[in-house]
């Protein structure tokens, strides 16, 4: 069921509780061990910014609205929300009978405290950008809370589901900020047991949960950076699920007994970014014809098949199919080196051209290999690519200081809406955008006012078509995440990200 319709003309719009997970009554049993390459920094959900934090948060904490294990937006600690006609006031009806992990009741006080904490600049919340439109939080009565926004936000609830974690006020005030980060407590399906930095986080089923008591009793998330060691752990049974395996290992994992592979769309799109914004005064890349030629010069399917071992799906434009409603009529630029050469000649480069490309090593899956293939395929049509491969923190650190005419990059998903990609990856004002097109900028600005989902979808499709026609980037693919899992485990990752939810996972004895 689709959510998130806010009609600005209606006086009050009420959204009811949808698709609640079914209650499970059997007691949790067994232990699930998951091995991932990295880990959260701090465990405080309001101070944490990396993807492994999101995974921890989603199992430990809840917001008024959350993404469930099918990536659907559903009410959690709220039962429903009413949005005022001006779109500036969100009135949440709180769910009754919700308890924190220590058994204390979750109240309107906790909600007010949590949101105020999350938007307080002193908290240094890295996710503040998502919810900084919140002006203030008012307690209307014991089970009603209103949030006033400074300005309208068409996808406020989607963002709140990503950054609006509810934490226990009394507990934090009793144990202090550091105490809370050391021993966090929330209302989520799993409760915290222990953590050793760089080693593991142990969690336990929260049997007091208001709807979803996990099927497994113990959840251990281990940090194992070496891919070969995660594979070995899967073989020996030390791990039940190993996440983020490199694509070249897919055949080896499939060949193992008692183990299978899962692969799901990551919500992350890959592209070659042209810098036609800063310092691009005389760049040949300013010419759309050249950019189109470069799109035709890359054999994307060959890279997907041979380098990525099919752990990616080709895309025509900038939208990821798992995050946005993509226009199926938009066909990817076909691989056609002859056409590419002709277009380059037509654009005034019959003898080819020279361009610098900067790629990271280790930031993205197989980034070095893929950049090399791309550079070679471009060479084949006469584009002499001078490829600079840099260690990833250097590459990112210099992103704002140095002019990269071309670079291999990705843009991920957080709130299941193209808005992030548009504002932060394509709008000429954005840090991560190297593209400049006034018409696209205006369309992006317009999108901010559209809250109706269907209308949003068509609007973003229009933008996507504009990007495609302008060949703003070399559009490549949406990646997939490869997971190895033991046969005795029943579990499905949700499409669109790697914020894995384990409450419905079960382990056979």
């Amino acid at each position: 069921m689709k959510f998130s319709s806010q009609n600005p003309f209606a006086a009050l719009f009420l959204i009811c509780a949808l698709s609640l997970p079914s209650l499970s009554f059997s007691a949790p049993t067994g232990k699930l061990t998951v091995a991932v390459p990295s880990e959260p920094a701090t465990l405080d959900p309001h101070k944490a910014s990396n993807r492994y934090n999101y995974m921890f948060n989603t199992n430990m904490f809840e917001g008024l609205y959350i993404r469930n294990d099918k990536a659907e937006l559903v009410p959690a600690l709220a039962e429903s929300v009413a949005v005022a006609s001006d779109g500036l006031t969100y009135t949440f009806k709180l769910r009754k009978g919700v308890k924190f992990h220590d058994g204390s009741a979750m109240t309107a006080d906790d909600v007010k405290f949590s949101i105020e904490r999350a938007i307080n600049p002193n908290t240094k919340n890295p996710l503040l950008a998502y919810i900084k439109t919140i002006d203030r939080v008012d307690i209307i009565n014991a089970d009603t809370v209103a949030m006033k926004l400074k300005e309208r936000d068409a996808i406020f609830l989607k963002k709140l589901a990503f950054a609006g974690w509810i934490v226990p006020k009394n507990y934090i005030q009793a144990v202090g900020e550091d105490g809370f980060a050391k021993k966090p407590m929330g209302t989520g399906p799993f409760k915290f047991v222990s953590r050793s930095i760089n080693e593991q986080i142990e969690m336990e089923a929260n049997e007091l949960h208001w709807s979803t008591v996990p099927k497994v009793k113990n959840l251990v998330i281990r940090t194992v950076p070496e891919d070969a060691v995660r594979l070995a752990m899967l073989q020996t049974g030390e791990a039940d699920i190993v996440a983020e395996m490199p694509p070249p290992l897919v055949e080896r994992i499939n060949a193992l007994r008692g183990v299978k592979t899962l692969s799901h769309p990551s919500g992350e799109i890959y592209w070659v970014v042209f810098n036609i914004k800063d310092g691009a005064k005389d760049s040949p890349l300013l010419n759309p014809m050249v950019r189109k030629a470069l799109n035709h010069a890359i054999d994307k399917q060959a890279i997907i098949t041979n380098v990525l071992k099919n752990q990616a799906v080709q895309i025509a434009g900038a939208l990821a199919p798992s995050v946005a409603a993509v226009d199926k009529n938009l066909q990817p630029y076909a691989y056609n080196p002859a056409l590419a050469k002709k277009m380059l000649a037509d654009a005034g480069y019959p003898n080819g051209l020279k361009v610098d490309m900067y790629s990271s090593v280790g930031r993205y899956t197989l980034d070095k290999d893929i950049s090399l293939v791309i550079a070679n395929q471009l060479k084949a049509v006469g584009v002499d690519v001078n490829l600079n491969l840099w260690e990833s923190s250097k590459w990112v650190g210099d992103l704002s200081k140095k002019y990269y005419p071309m670079s291999y990059q990705a843009f991920g998903n957080t709130v299941f809406d193209p808005e992030g990609l548009m504002i932060f990856g394509l709008h000429s004002k954005a840090f991560w955008s190297f593209y400049k097109n006034d018409a696209v900028d205006k369309m992006i600005d317009d999108s901010l006012k559209i809250s109706e989902q269907k209308e949003r979808d068509t609007h973003f499709q229009k933008i996507d078509k504009m990007l495609y026609d302008d060949a703003s980037h070399i559009f490549l693919w949406e990646s997939k995440i490869l997971i190895g899992m033991r046969d005795k485990v029943t579990w499905r990752p949700q499409p669109g990200d790697n914020v894995y939810k384990f409450w419905n996972a079960s382990v056979d004895k």
Binding site: A129, I197, A228, V229, T236, S393, S400, T414, G420, G425
Partner: protein, 309 residues
């Protein structure tokens, strides 16, 4: 003050200068790597958010100013605050150091037992098949990269034989493979050095005399020779111990061993420069202290040290 004590004092001053030099170098390296804010902030952060965050971390100040603050804090025993973990760097190091120390000690014990043992065996039977076998093993030990040795050991002992856990830190069993991996190179070095030193020692006049006097060979090897070799072995082993702490970066990453080596590499990748600086400074202090301790021990073992010619 005589020459010998002046020598010790000089070593102390050198040690302090060395630690200070390391602090400058590591500060410059982290400064030149680039701006950590881009690594720490999500893509969704606006330019204003980035600037605010930069200010909050004190990164808007000049490099010189930041170094002075950093160094003044170090002198007071404050290594700063981790950007990523939001905790004091010293507390993080304190938390992770025991794991690294445990691993390094286990590795050096392994290296001493196997290295000195095999070195002695080779020296008393030089140029036999036994000696050649160990020579070959030591050479391969020195040549094999740590990450390869580690993965091979996991493949064999964990995946094939299922004797030992692949990774993690859970009891003595999990210590075995990382300790061997880490100690591998040092074992080879110690074995070779023991062999050659012992062969040399066996050629000295005082050993020849005791052989002629008819002393039993085990007394000659273990009492006379080893005692004579001790200063040399001590220097080699202490140098190896220092290499072990450095090698821990790779070994800990392979075996998911939660020590400061992992913390260091993770912090370097994540732009958490206070942690990188803190670990480097702490490690350099440890290195220097070990060297100093060896010098002091040598100083008392060998009365010739420190006397000017």
């Amino acid at each position: 003050m005589n020459d010998r004590w002046r020598y010790l004092l000089e070593r102390l001053i050198q040690a302090a200068v060395c630690v200070w030099g390391v602090s400058v170098i590591i500060f410059c390296i982290t400064h030149f790597i680039g701006d950590p804010v881009q690594l720490l902030m999500p893509a969704e952060a606006s330019q204003a958010d980035r600037l605010a965050y930069q200010q909050a971390l004190g990164l808007d100040k000049s490099a010189f100013e930041r170094y002075i603050i950093f160094f003044a804090n170090v002198l007071q025993g404050d290594l700063g605050q981790s950007y990523r973990f939001n905790t004091p760097v010293l507390a993080l190091i304190w938390d992770k150091f025991p794991a690294t120390f445990e691993l390094a000690v286990a590795a050096i014990v392994f290296a001493i037992i196997v290295g000195v043992g095999s070195g002695i065996l080779c020296a008393i039977r030089p140029n036999t098949w036994w000696d050649h076998c160990f020579e070959w093993l030591s050479l391969s030990g020195m040549a094999a990269p740590t990450f390869w040795v580690g993965i091979m050991l996991i493949m064999f002992f964990s995946v094939e034989l299922r004797w030992l856990p692949t990774s993690g830190r859970s009891g003595l069993a999990s210590l075995v493979l990382p300790a061997i991996t880490l100690g591998w190179y040092s074992t080879a070095v110690i074995s070779r050095m023991t062999r050659s030193t012992l062969l040399e020692t066996l050629e000295t006049d005082f050993i020849k005399t005791s052989v002629l006097k008819g002393a039993p060979s085990h007394i000659i090897i273990f009492k006379h020779c080893l005692k004579f070799m001790l200063p040399t072995l001590l220097t080699i082993i202490s140098l190896q111990f220092v290499t072990l702490l450095a090698g821990a970066v790779i070994t800990e990453t392979i075996f998911s061993w939660p020590g400061i080596g992992r913390l260091l590499i993770q912090s370097a990748y994540g732009g958490d420069y206070p942690v990188v600086q803190g670990i480097t400074v702490v490690c350099s202090i440890i290195f220097v202290l070990i060297q100093l301790a060896v010098d002091v021990v040598q100083f008392f073992l060998d009365p010739r040290i420190g006397h000017r010619q």
